[in-house]
Amino acid sequence: MTIKNSVLDRRRFLRGTGVALGLPLLESFMPKTARAAGPAPGYAVFLVDMNGVQQQPGFGNEPERFWPTKAGALTTASMMADSGRAVSELAAYADYLNIIRGVSMAFDGNGCGHSGGGNQLLTAAKVSADPAKNKSLAMGPSADYRISQALAGKEPFALYAGPKYGYINDHISFRGTKDLIIAEANPWTAYSKIVSMTGGAGAAQELVLNRRRSVNDLVRGELNVLLGDKTLSSADRQRISMHLASVRDIEQQMVKELPAATVADLKSVDGQQGTDGNRLKVLALEFDLAVFALASGQHRVVFIQNGDGTDGIGYTVNGVKLPSYHHISHRINGDGTEGTPIDGADLMHHQIDRIHLRHFGMLIGKMGAVKTPMGSLLDLGFAAWANQLGDGYHQYKNVPYIIAGRAGGYLKTGQFLDLPKVMNNKLLNTLITAAGVRSSAGGPIDDFGDPSLPKGLIPGLVA
């Protein structure tokens, strides 16, 4: 198996009159002679934060501080006028946005609101009965995986910012039923792997790739013999088949390296990627990696999880270190239902929402800065932001989703959709289709998620 598709798409993407890259860091790895032609490729980045947002209805009499004040068209001016709302952090990108309120997740969690929410967020699937609680899993694949498989024949580039010894770690991106994708938490490692996989440069690269083909042929042969065992259990057959499918011959590619300053930044967090102090730096570096992976043709889909499932980061705002974010989201000094109240927790939560959306804006900006003759990555694809929960009350309704990008013109943009209750499978159907995935009949994907859910897309999102 090869990854010709992604390589060809990248070539198509870059073929033509040359590439104008807005990000200086990207210029170094884009071939100067590339020329563009052919259909626009799709790209998608999913960024997920934890613990819900400060919104109403929520805790008691707290004011609404998240959503725009009015449904309908969004402009930079209208969003700036809503300066008291967290989404105003995205005002600069109003033309590209879809802010969507009213999305619910259909199913109950199973003993842990955070895990159950994360399980459903990108899958619209039920939550497993076994395992349960903080170990619960989704009973189906996630949208990022579905898109990546369809467009690139491989798994999404999965990244993670924060410590990996939390109560819940990876719990959002899935290959299929109970089949969790584990994201890379160390951006230096993620970058090193991308560079290593290309095998170096020039004649040395050719030797490496030839050798890999020889070894891969041998390994494929051994796996095929093992698969020939008629007494294999279905689980073993599935696992060995997955192994066989993962044996890839990487084509010779022209990917170079990121600029020295970025590489130095990546290296600086190596081994320290899980600390609170490095969190936002890691997140920003992962945005660079996401854009690098997309623009260089390594991946078509990126998934980024910010924080463990009950993200307990202590953010520093205006020089003051806040209590655990998870505690703030519950408004008490405690991870459960018991603890002393945190004074001003609602405002702290709002400040954290702003931090998160400011960083989503950073991602939008980086994608928008990659210019091609067909438009930016934001014109060709989209970045989707969501929170694992509606609010700190573990609500599965009014789960915030914000989409930035036109997806090759498929998405209508520049609007705040204040919808009556809609299940998240319809939003995911819309996004999967927007990324360029089609049904076997050539139509839109309208049946993603649990089969019990009503099919369909969200018409208001489609141009």
Binding site: G109, G111, Y165, L207, R239, H330, R331, G334, T337, E338
Partner: protein
């Protein structure tokens, strides 16, 4: 396949909305009724194969398992170290794609996958290791067939190295395939010594082979009896070695397999398995594996992240979490290494190991340095694992204790109670009064509140037993100026038991059948590399009963498990 979420014992309804059943461990389902298998003290009744779906009746059962147990990342590290003769583990898995959790331990090989990302990781790591070995004359010399001089001949090298890499002799076809690759060495790498480049190519490929990455078990399929397939001697060697030492079989095990000592007459094989298992338990690899077991079981890897407000918890200093982890590992190692060290000793031994930082937490007088030393503790205050600062501080907030999480830990990790999920969307109600932590927690979650059935009767009592240990585990007698009450009662093994102190509480746990079943089930999970099944109930009960009634040493329990038919056979599919 049904995991052991049907209880071995059931405590029965303890409230209108909360049932705490006791299982073999890691049993996420809340409650599925039924009780079973209180097996006898049997000394070895042996039974047939099981699909894992039903408890065995009066005999050890052989559970259907995967034929392809993938090496865990730790096993990959240890195996490459031993296979290539490296002075230490290469450390490359720190950048490998992580594995999803499949139980309490990371070595559930039958569930571990090779994903896109991990395939790439294996590829890059294999290339790096092959390059390292082929450029180091000392390492290369170790890999040459014994007695070989001059340029390495392909087939002798492939047969010798392959037998260790695949943990079995290669077939003629396999030798031929790798010999063809060996012959292409110069073409694949460019200039250099052709025989060295051939070795490099073979090493690089074998490290990516499924026969290296998986422990493949097909058994002696021509000798199936009563649904049980005897393992081949080579497969048995790997089971023993990976179970007890987390690495490939050493030369003695490989020799035993080659000599046919690990297959054939069951009694003879059992004796041979016991001999090697005993040997490995005292080896460096065996000791590392025991540390690995307790690190995962007790979640010691979280201790490094322990963080306290130093202004209010003056004993907290940076790095003390790592000290706490060291303390617990030294303690568990000491217990397990003793000829009589038992599960009960883990819970009751009144000694520990401290350095100068931990000595302050314990309030010990005397001279202490950075070095750990064994100390006796006040037996009225401290008793085993659950009164050590690591458990107490990791289940506490930055300034306050966390009785609920302490109670949950004891139930889940020590008693294997299948706590039901908490109610959905419980609003976080601020405390409404009470001077002490116990009073506040009781007011919110105790009897008479909506959380009463679970917290009031199960979780809180177990947590309150440790009320005299503050947020870092220091002993105290007052909370907010009021005397602390750490007494309580809890239904243990179906009988309401009372205590007046933490020491009395852990003493009750040390005498609890469900605790011994829980800890024995954990050892089964680790040694067998799979989650316990219902069909394992008889075996677990058999070993747990000896642990409880005879104070059987932990080492002996481990040997009982690995010499059972459940370990020595595989089920026919």
């Amino acid at each position: 396949m049904k995991h052991a979420n049907v209880s071995l014992l059931v405590l029965g309804w303890l409230g209108s909305a909360c049932t705490g059943s006791v299982g073999l461990g890691d049993s996420p389902e809340a409650d599925d009724g039924g009780s079973t298998g209180q097996g006898g003290t049997g000394s070895g009744a042996r039974g047939g194969a099981s699909s894992g779906g039903a408890p065995s009746d009066g005999a050890d059962a052989v559970v259907a398992t995967s034929k392809f147990a993938r090496l865990s990342h730790k096993q990959w590290e240890n195996t490459t170290r031993d296979l290539l003769g490296l002075p230490k583990a290469p450390g490359l898995t720190s950048t490998f794609t992580g594995d999803a959790s499949h139980g309490r331990f990371d070595n559930a090989g039958g569930a571990l996958q090779v994903t896109d990302g991990l395939f790439n990781d294996y590829q890059i790591a294999s290339e790096a290791l092959a390059a390292k070995v082929s450029s180091d004359a000392t390492l290369l010399a170790k890999l040459k067939p014994s007695g070989a001089t001059g340029a390495v001949q392909p087939k002798p090298f492939i047969e010798a190295f392959g037998r260790r890499a695949f943990r079995r002799p290669l077939t003629t076809e396999e030798v031929d395939r790798y010999a063809a690759l060996f012959a292409k060495g110069s073409a694949l790498y460019g200039a250099g010594d052709a025989s060295v480049l051939g070795m490099r190519a073979v090493i690089e490929a074998m490290l990516q082979s499924p026969h290296f990455l998986y422990r493949i078990e097909v058994g002696q399929t021509n000798k199936v009896v009563d649904g049980k397939v005897p393992l081949t001697g080579w497969e048995m060697a790997s089971r023993i070695s990976y179970g007890l030492a987390n690495t490939m079989p050493d030369s003695e095990l490989l020799a035993a397999a080659a000599d046919g000592k690990l297959q054939g007459n069951v009694a003879d094989v059992r004796a041979e398995v016991r001999r090697h298992a005993t040997r490995l338990l005292s080896s460096t690899g065996g000791k590392d594996a025991i540390n690995d077991f307790y690190t995962q079981l007790l979640r010691l890897y979280t201790y490094d992240g322990i963080d306290k407000d130093a202004a209010k918890v003056p004993e907290f200093v940076a790095g003390i979490g790592a000290d706490m982890r060291q303390e617990t590992l030294r303690f568990t190692s000491e217990i397990v290494s003793q000829a009589t060290g038992s599960q009960a000793d883990l819970l009751t031994a009144p000694f520990t190991f401290v350095n100068q930082r931990l000595a302050k937490v314990y309030g010990l007088s005397g001279t202490f340095t950075d070095e750990f030393k064994k100390v006796d503790l006040d037996a009225k205050q401290r008793s085993g694992l659950l009164t050590q600062p690591g458990f107490l501080a990791s289940n506490a907030h930055r300034t306050e204790i966390d009785s609920i999480h302490r109670g949950v830990f004891v139930h889940v990790n020590v008693m294997c109670t299948n706590l039901p999920p908490p109610a959905k969307n419980v609003p976080p109600v601020p405390p409404t009064g009470g001077k002490t932590n116990r009073e506040r927690v009781t007011a919110h979650t105790g009897p008479g509140t909506c959380g009463g059935p679970c917290h009031g009767t199960l979780i809180n009592p177990a947590g309150f037993a440790f009320e005299k240990f503050d947020a870092i585990g220091k002993y105290r007698t007052l909370d907010n100026g009021a005397a602390i009450d750490d007494s309580g009662s809890l239904e243990i093994d179906g009988v309401e038991r009372s205590w007046k102190s933490s020491v009395e509480f852990v003493a009750l746990l040390a005498k609890s059948q469900s605790v011994h079943q829980c800890l024995t089930g954990a050892w089964l999970e680790y040694l067998f590399g799979r989650r316990p099944e219902e069909a394992d109930a008889f075996l677990v009960n058999r070993v747990a009963n000896a642990s409880l009634s005879q104070s059987q040493a932990i080492k002996e329990s481990m040997l009982e498990l690995v010499t059972s038919e459940a370990f020595m056979f595989r089920a026919a599919l």
